[in-house]
Amino acid sequence: MAANVNITRRGAVSALFALPLIAIAVVAFAGTATVPADYQSRQDFLRETLGNEEPQSDVIWMQAGLQEKAAEILGHPFGRLRVRYWYEGDRTAWVIDEIGKEKPITLGVVIEAGEIQSLRVLQFRESRGWEIRYPFFTRQFSGLRLNDTGSLNQRIDGITGATLSVRAATRSANLALVLDEHVRRRNHALSAAP
């Protein structure tokens, strides 16, 4: 019994000295990675997704109602009066800049018939969270639509350490779907007009 107590005491005393040393080692070797990168140009994105480097484009003027809706999704004012999209048949492509933590992430979203076909990270400028560029994350968006409340109809799984980038991508996808819906309604109203 006495031997056991001695061993435990010795272990605890060793820990008293070892832990501060481990802490110093952790502090000394800790570092951060910075990976700002241009993954794809807008032209390449459009060529790959719509089959044309400069497909037809049109704009939406962000009227008050749409500005409010965009601000609600993004959590901050949209900040522009006009948003451009490119299209080929029923397929629309959107290039959206959204802040992750401090810097804008440029995302490309392709939508067909109200459903996201693909989402890509075109430019990433933050120092962390670049993992969102990988297909294991971006393919979660394929097939997503708007639900009745105007949000994405499925939850997006996060990535540890990339929470803010994941949120930025999710908000951008949501905004692109709302804007696409606006375009489809507008086109429908125009085609129905006498």
Binding site: T8, R9, A12, A15, L16, L19, P20, A23, I24, V27, S41, R42, Q43, E54, S57, V59, G79, R80, L81, R82, V83, R84, K101, E102, K103, P104, R125, L164
Partner: protein
């Protein structure tokens, strides 16, 4: 210890308190960080508004207008809008300066100069002139010749007060409360001793935890 705990708590809630967007620029912090006012790379005027470039941001008066951009090349006003160009992108603004749209130019081309010929916006790209279409947001080869007197946008020097105000705004963007708290938390706010003080404090906390557990265990 209190300072580290409180700053840690605040840092864990930066989004809630909007600390990354809050400017902490003040003469005290400026001195502490040894920061000189950032230099204004170029200022252009259009429609009575000043557009200045500092680092990779273009300011409209004292407000950041375009972030993460490149060198400012010019600003011109047409009858119903303002166009500004950086080396790699164009931005169309309403006459009051509200941002209408911005678009990056082709990655293989660089804007050299920006000017106006009548009501047309002209960009000089590698010696070739292009007309910038503010609706389609694209460039078309121009028949405008230099001889037809393109009014090229030229840099101006704002008066000292305006310069100071623009630099103060830029400083505010560089120095946020999140930056201050991060450096306070890590001890880097004090040049040399700070980091050691923070490390010693952290080690003391670990030591207290361990010795506390040890004493508690021994009493049992």
């Amino acid at each position: 210890v209190l300072l580290i705990a409180a700053s840690g708590l605040l840092l864990n809630n930066t989004d809630t308190f909007g600390l990354s967007a809050r400017s902490a620029a003040s003469p005290l912090f400026q001195k502490l960080y040894g920061m000189d006012p950032p230099s204004i790379q170029a200022t252009y005027s259009a429609n009575g508004l000043l557009f200045s470039a500092i680092d990779n941001t273009v300011y409209l008066e004292e407000q950041a207008l375009l972030t993460e951009t490149s060198d400012l090349r010019g600003a011109v006003a047409t009858s119903d809008e303002i166009v500004i160009a950086t080396r790699s992108e164009f931005a169309v603004l309403a006459p009051n300066g509200a941002l209408v749209e911005r678009i990056r130019s082709n990655p293989n081309t660089e804007v050299g100069r920006l000017g106006a010929a009548g009501n047309e916006v002209v960009a000089d790209m590698g010696g070739e002139l292009f007309v910038f279409d503010t609706v389609a947001m694209n460039l078309k080869k121009s028949d405008v010749r230099e001889a037809q007197a393109v009014r090229w946008s030229t840099p101006i020097v704002p008066d000292a007060d305006r310069q100071e105000a623009i630099q103060a705004a830029a400083m505010g963007r560089l120095l946020s409360w999140e930056r201050i708290l991060t450096d306070l938390h890590s001890g880097r706010l004090l040049p040399v001793a700070g980091r050691y003080i923070a490390d010693i404090t952290a080690l003391c906390l670990i030591y207290l935890c361990i010795t506390g557990l040890f004493l508690w265990f021994r009493r049992r």
